[in-house]
Every structure is written in C-alpha cells, then in structure tokens.
Subunit: 160 residues, 6 copies
C-alpha cells in the first residue's frame, strides 16, 4: 500500500491527514495547450472582437475554478489560495496557458494550478466551438512547485 496515501487500510479512498504538517508558503505553476486552426487563432486574436475577450473569460474561469478545486477533485483538501494568475501565449498551432497559484497551507497547490489551466482551456474550447469542433487540449502538466517537505520540484524534460 506503500505510497498511495489516499487509501486507508480497507482500500477505500480517504483524504490524507495533514493535520500535523506545518503551514508553509506554497506555490505551483502548471501549463497546458489548446490546439486550434490558424483561422481560429486569428479570430481569437483579432476577429472583430476587442482583443483578448475570449481570453478574459477563460482567465476568469481558470481563477474561479482554482478556488473550487477541492469541490471538483474528491480527495483534495480545502485550501485558501492567496494568489492566482493565468497567462496566455499564442503559438503557431494554438494557445499556451500557464497558471500560477499560491497559498499558505499544510499541503500544496498543484491540483489548483492544474485545475485552473484545465478550466481556462475548456472555456476557450467552449467559446470557439462554433467555429471549430476538433480543437484539442493537450500537454497539461505541473511545471514547478515549491513549499512543503519536498521544497522544490521542477519538471525536467518538457514535451513540445
């Protein structure tokens, strides 16, 4: 049963006990991509729209989802995040989404950062699906985390 800390001795899931872990400053950075046609990218960027409005909605969605991560992911601890930000970067084949989340707590904010990216990407999908149905959300991963016992983690190899 070694490392699977979410399971109690009956094999059922539980929320890991972090009661005695110290409160430390935590941060996590996550990323994903949404792949879309050049025409769809162009419409997001310029298409008669005030620049960035698809992304504004996606950003709000990502930040709000970060706050509610523990309601979506069953074994996540409730956390009071102290900062959340999302950035978008246009690439040749789509949009790169990067989230940064912080909190002061007994446990890390990886899931919050990943959930923020995921909700932002799904929102971009939702807002563009009238013009393209075969977009794809891909490469969702944790880029970096700090705080807690493991101090610092940074993803070594990065798929492009």
């Amino acid at each position: 049963m070694e490392d699977f800390t979410h399971f109690n001795e009956e094999g059922h899931a539980r929320m890991v006990d972090v009661s005695e872990k110290p409160v430390t400053a935590r941060a996590a950075v996550a990323e994903c991509r949404i792949l879309m046609n050049a025409e769809t990218i162009r419409l997001v960027q310029t298409g008669g729209l005030p620049k960035g409005d698809v992304l504004s909605v996606a950003q709000v969605a990502g930040i709000m989802a970060a706050k509610r991560t523990y309601e979506i992911i069953p074994m996540c601890h409730p956390l009071m995040i102290t900062s959340a930000d999302i950035r978008f970067s246009f690439e040749e084949k789509g949009i790169l989404i990067r989230s940064t989340v912080k909190c002061n707590g007994e446990t890390g904010v990886e899931m919050e950062a990943l959930t923020a990216c995921s909700a932002a990407a799904l929102t971009v999908y939702d807002m563009c699906k009238a013009v393209q149905k075969d977009m794809e959300i891909t490469d969702l991963h944790l880029l970096e985390k700090s705080g807690g016992k493991s101090h610092f983690y940074r993803r070594e190899v990065q798929r492009v």
Copy 2:
C-alpha cells in the same frame, strides 16, 4: 463577428440565446489520456489495492463534474443531464478515459463530456501524484456528438 456566438455586439461575452431552439435528444462522447510510468500504471491496476479504486474515485469525480459543468465554464447553459458514464482503458503509456453524456435539451452536451474527462483525469493525477509528479494529461477532445441542428459529428482524424 460572424460565428462567435458568445459575444454580444459590444464585444462582451454573453450566454447564447437558445430559447427558441427545440428540445432534442443530445449525446456527446469525449476522450483524454493520462500518461504515466509503467510502475504507476501497475500500482493503479494491482498495487495492493482492490482493483480499480483509483478509477472508482475518478469516475465519481467525472460524473459529478459533468453535472456542474455550467458552474465551471462561464458561458455554458445549465442542463439537466440524463445519463453520464466514464470508462477507463489501460494503455502501454497510461490510461485512456472516455466519457459519454446525454440530455434532452436546447443545446448540446459537448462541454459536459469534456469536463467529465478532464475531472476524471485530474483525479487520477491527484491520487497518484505521491508516486509520480510528471504525469501528463493529453489528447482531450470531442469524439462524437449527436442531436441538434448539426445532427451528427464524428471526429475524422484521430491523433495517437
């Protein structure tokens, strides 16, 4: 402004008016993958755990997220889904997750199916992250939809 139906004439986002669309039977199938090491896959499958318990939690997460899609994706319409199911398939490099969602409504359930996959994959990540931090969620896409004006859509080319 052509096809971007989520924007009103000021360029701000709005929830598209579907008041006069007929209620039809809707279905959508979505898929994604979570890539993990062989050792992590083995632990999910057998690792001293009753088979499938990580997946049981992920499945509950996916189904519950499908029901709350309209709370997570800002411009999604509230929908009363009538069916939701999630299947998992072990692959050489990870787990394939497939969701199927149905409703009778004025608008489709693509976002519900995509959100279900996404929440299920994030839950697998959460429950395995103690043993592997560099998992990746990828290939999230709509596989098939039916109902509504466009009747039937099936994704042509499939990336593997």
Copy 3:
C-alpha cells in the same frame, strides 16, 4: 448485476440513463426524527426565543439542500424541483420532521425528500448542540412516492 442500475458492466458506478423515460409528475414524502431532552425541546419551543426560529433556519436549510441533492449524492440526476416544503411536529422525545418535494421529470424525487429531512435535522442539531451534545437523528425513511413507472409506493410498516 441484475437490479443494481447504478453500475455499468465494468462494475464502476454510472448515472443511470433516463433519457428515454417520459416526463411525469413526481412527488415524494420523507420523514426523520431528532431525539432530544425535554429541556432542549422546551428551549426550541419557547426558551426566550421567538417561537419557531430554530425551525425556521432548519426549514430553509432543508429546502436549500433539496435543490442541491444532485451535488451531494453522486449518482443522482439533476432535477428542477417545483415544490418543497418541510413541517415539524413536537413529540415527547424530540421533533418529527417531514418533507414533501415535487418535480416534473424523468426520475423521482425520493433522494431530494430524504436529503431535505437530513439537512433540516442536522441544522436543528447544529443550533442546539451548545445545550445538548447527545441528540440523535433517527428513523430517516421514505414515506411515500408517486409518479413514474412504479406509480405509487407507500411504506407499509412504520417503526415508532
């Protein structure tokens, strides 16, 4: 696997497919008791408080919980309930709580009625726990349901 309609063929839970069931008028009545000392009952009834205020809060809690049943019970379908009411009756050893919930839908409102009773009773507990810690919530059951294929059900034997 016969009757366990919440499980798909892999043995994982799913939300039962009710897509093709007709929409019919549904109603359900549920009941429970909260057992408390005579002194606690007296304080709820009169204790310097405007009569019924503990019960007013409990009633609001029950009605609000009925609306969110599908967020609490994982495999419940989302339903738009059209009516919810809760009544309280003082008994020698506590308070009897009865909820009535209705909807027009493809599936029944038993879980909504049971959840309403449960939330109302927990709220009474919460509001009285400063004066009595060993209250007990008991006898939560479905009293009656109507609508759908099984038309009408009424509990035969009633424990007192």
Copy 4:
C-alpha cells in the same frame, strides 16, 4: 396570509408549488447603478487598461450568478436559463448595469435578472475598491418581465 405565497400554513417558508403551472417562455430585464467618482469612471474606461476589462469580469460574474440564483435565494426555484446578457452604460456619476435573462419554465426569471445585476455591480465594486471605497450600488429594480399568467409587466415610474 393572503398573498404571501412563500409561507405554508404554519408560517414557515416554503418553496411555492409550481408543479401544475404551464411551461411558458419567460424573460426579465433588471437594472442597477454603481455610483463612483469621475476619476474611478475614467480608470475603468481607459486607465492604461484594455477598455472594458473591469466590465468583462463583471459581466462574467453576472452571468454566472444568474445561473446560480436558486442557490443564493432560498425560496427560488431551480431554473434552466436559456439566455443571459449584461450591458453597461457609462453615466455622469457611475455605471448603469442592465441584465436580460430568459428561460422556458413554470416560473419567472425576475430573481435571476436582479441577481445578475447585483453580482455584476459587486464585482465592479471589488475591482475598483483599491481606488475608491465609498462607491454605492443603487436603484436595483425589475424593469420588465414577460411570460406566465401576468403576461407583461413594465415598471411605470423610473427614478433617475
């Protein structure tokens, strides 16, 4: 007890029974104002920011709140709104906010329109409060409703 349809015969609140009302097309328009200094208005409009971004966030907030009205207002029925939009108009002393909400249902969407305005105004407050603390949200009222037994209502006298 005449007209207070939210109270049952014990005087406790209940969700009014709309089970037997016909489903009709419903719409409601609501308005409010947020009063602010000329300098704050100018910052919302131009202040180095891409035009409209405070309002973009406020609009998303209003639309999302409309969908969750029945979770915020205890006796509101759950409704599946089919359309929601929010417009902003700069005035000499602040910003006028107007929401329009529609649904096909047994009961009206007045509360959804009012809640959307309210959440949008609170969001403007939140995003400007670093520069002005004494803003005021005022004049929140129903402007117009249609559908249901009373067919059409339009507010006669309008305070300016």
Copy 5:
C-alpha cells in the same frame, strides 16, 4: 496601471497576491435599503405571519451568501469568516439591512459584508414580489471596515 491591483501586466484580471500580508483581525459593516409600499412593510411586520419570518429567511440567505462570496465575486480571495450577523430595521419607506462580518485573514471582508446585504435584500424582494413588483434595492455601501494596513475606514457622508 497604478492602483488597479486586480490586473496583471497583460491587462487581464488576476487574484491579487496576498501571500505575504500578515494575518490580522478583520471586520466590515455594510448596509442597504429595500424600498417598499407601506402595505408591503405592514405585511412583512404583521400580516398574519409570525413576526419576522420573511426576515428570518433573508437573514439565513445573507449569512450563507457571505460564506460563498468568493464563489460569486470572481477575484475575491477565499476567506474563512468567523462571524456573520444581519440586522433589520423598519423605516418609513422600507427596511434597512445591516450586515457585520469578521475574519482573521490576509485580506478584508468588505465584499463579504456587501454580498450578505445584497443577498438578504434580494431574498426580501423574492418573498414579497407576489404583493409588490416595483420594490427597489438601494444605498448598498460599506459603512465601516477595520484590520489590515489601512486599519480603520468609516464612511463620512451618508446619503439618506
């Protein structure tokens, strides 16, 4: 970009980083009015109803909304409020609603107090709208706040 702390350098909204702010005792008081006819006031006060029941429901709504402010206002930080109370005062032309909210946290509870007032007022509207449709919610403002860097704020001029 000076004072608009909710915007990152791309001009998109973000949740302000409060990670390094000290935890201090915070309080905020907010007020609003709901204007109604003398007859509606009378019905709220006496109308065959146990005195105060409209207000009991409104109070529960306000307190519950205070707890969920960060789900409604997109850039609000999650906070664990430690106290919430709402008072009502009958005036000649309506009802004055005053909320008081406290927490120990890195950031203030102004939005929680304003949201509590707003939800309470909307609930009064909802529960009286069968007898009067042209009620108006007005004068929503922050009356007082304490805690944090700015220590103490009290609104100077008060509109009546």
Copy 6:
C-alpha cells in the same frame, strides 16, 4: 437566551462569533446505520459487483460532503478540514458507517463528521433503492470530539 449561541438579541439566527477563540487541533467521530434486508446487504457485499463499490461511491460522497458542510448547514463556520475518513462495517441488519474528521481551527468539526455520515448513508440508499425502498437511516450521533474549550467529549450511553 442563555445557551442558544446562534441567536442574536433580536432572536434571529447568526453565525456565532469565534474570532477570538484560539486555533486548536480538532477532531470528531460520528456514526450512523443504514438498515436493510439481508438480500440487499448480500448484494452490496458480493452481488456480482467488485466488492465494496457501493461503499466506494458512498465514501467519496461522505468526504466531499464533509468539505461542504458549511454550505449545507446555515450557521456552520467555514472550516478547512485537514483529514476525513469513512469506514463501513457490515452488521446483521445493515451497515454501520463511521466518519472521522479533523481540522485546525477556532471551532469544532462535529457537524462535518455528522454530515459526512449522513451523505454516505444517503448515497448507499440511492444506490440500493432499486432493490429495496424501505431502508432506514438511523442512530446518527456524535461519538467523540476533541479540541477546543471542552477538550474531550465521548458519548456515554450508546443505543443499539
């Protein structure tokens, strides 16, 4: 008005002020039973199903409900629970459900433990109701609590 700490001096409910209570380690254990036929018990245990899957879903439901207790019980304080676990034990006439919840906070987690048991039991009901409608949820009580001013409480007499 003595001990009813949820009421302000007007007799309306309020969230008790815990601002000045010290943060201490809190724990609570609660229990309930769901009574069912021998045949239903057998189906939960073996019935062609992977052992424990009804219970897996119930466990997830209980843990998720514990996190959202303050949204369900109106006067409960928001708390960031640091641990939640649920165990099931088969008895002759049903299933005994025991929850354990912890947090570091100004107030206790009794309501979280009771709500977790309640949601788990309701989920068992939901998943078995196709085979038995007259199940009953009973004996819901607090077994033990620790932390805070009253240090330690353990229920003396236990009804069986």
